[in-house]
């Protein structure tokens, strides 16, 4: 019963943050600010979705003591780390490529990278 409530809460928080990431993707003006929305909000939202899965697996394991649910927990945690690392690395790659390609940050008050001229 507690597990069901916890799963619902985690899923709700995760979906809210993922939805905010999508709204930010549509709303922000240029590639860099859009990357802010898409990396941070989706990582945080997905962590809560994963937490929902972990709580479900733990409750099932305690109920049935079927050891395959342990595998669900470890796979979910590995997926969480993989998502966080690849999300950060991918957004860095996209931002760097965009800046090398000449995309100027819109509404920017300062651009030290263009001044440095790397």
């Amino acid at each position: 019963m507690i597990a069901d409530t916890l799963i619902l809460i985690f899923l709700a928080i995760g979906l809210v943050f993922n939805a905010l990431g999508v709204i930010g993707l549509l709303r922000f003006p240029d590639v860099y600010t859009r990357l802010h929305a898409s990396t941070k909000a989706t990582t945080f939202g997905s962590i809560f979705l994963f937490l929902g899965v972990v709580v479900f697996a733990i409750s099932q394991y305690l109920g049935t003591s079927d050891s395959q649910y342990l595998m669900v927990i470890t796979h979910t945690i590995i997926a969480m780390f993989a998502l966080a690392i690849t999300n950060a690395a991918g957004s860095h790659a996209i931002a760097r490529a965009a800046h090398r390609n000449g995309q100027k940050p819109q509404q920017a008050v300062v651009d030290k990278l263009a001044e440095a001229g790397l």
Partner: protein, 175 residues
Amino acid sequence: MIPFFVTAFVAFLFYLVLVVGSGSVLFWSTEEITAGVIIGLVTGILCRKIFCKSEDYRMLNPVRLIQIIFYLCGPFLVELTKANFDVAYRVITGRIRPGIIRLRSGMKSPLAMTMLAHSITLTPGTLSVDVDEKTHDLFIHVIHLDEGVEKKEALEAKEVFSYMDIPKWIRRIAE
């Protein structure tokens, strides 16, 4: 020889984590353990030059690995939560004042630079865009700069984080 054993051992451990709950020897079956040993040896032969490229084994120290877990569950999680509420606020209100600034990282090893850049991307309203290989400076895109910050030549790494001293943690883990 050391790279081979290190790679094989890490691959074996990773395989065991992936197949946990398959049998009765602790959590694993004997078939899965045998398969893990074979896969670990093959991986060690194939990947030893990629995995141990720097020939530097300080990250095998269990104290550092435990510190990574503490770092992820403590300071990093606090900053991640704060950053996400900040981005949620910016998404809803649309109040942004973006800019790309220079950040003195103060890190020396490539691993520490990677960890700092990833932490910056995932945490406080900032996104790492490029890196100056000579001076180890990071160029970061900030979604909301406070008034006056854009006039500074460069920021110190801990100024962009709000509550926790993330660079100190990373230096302790990776250098």
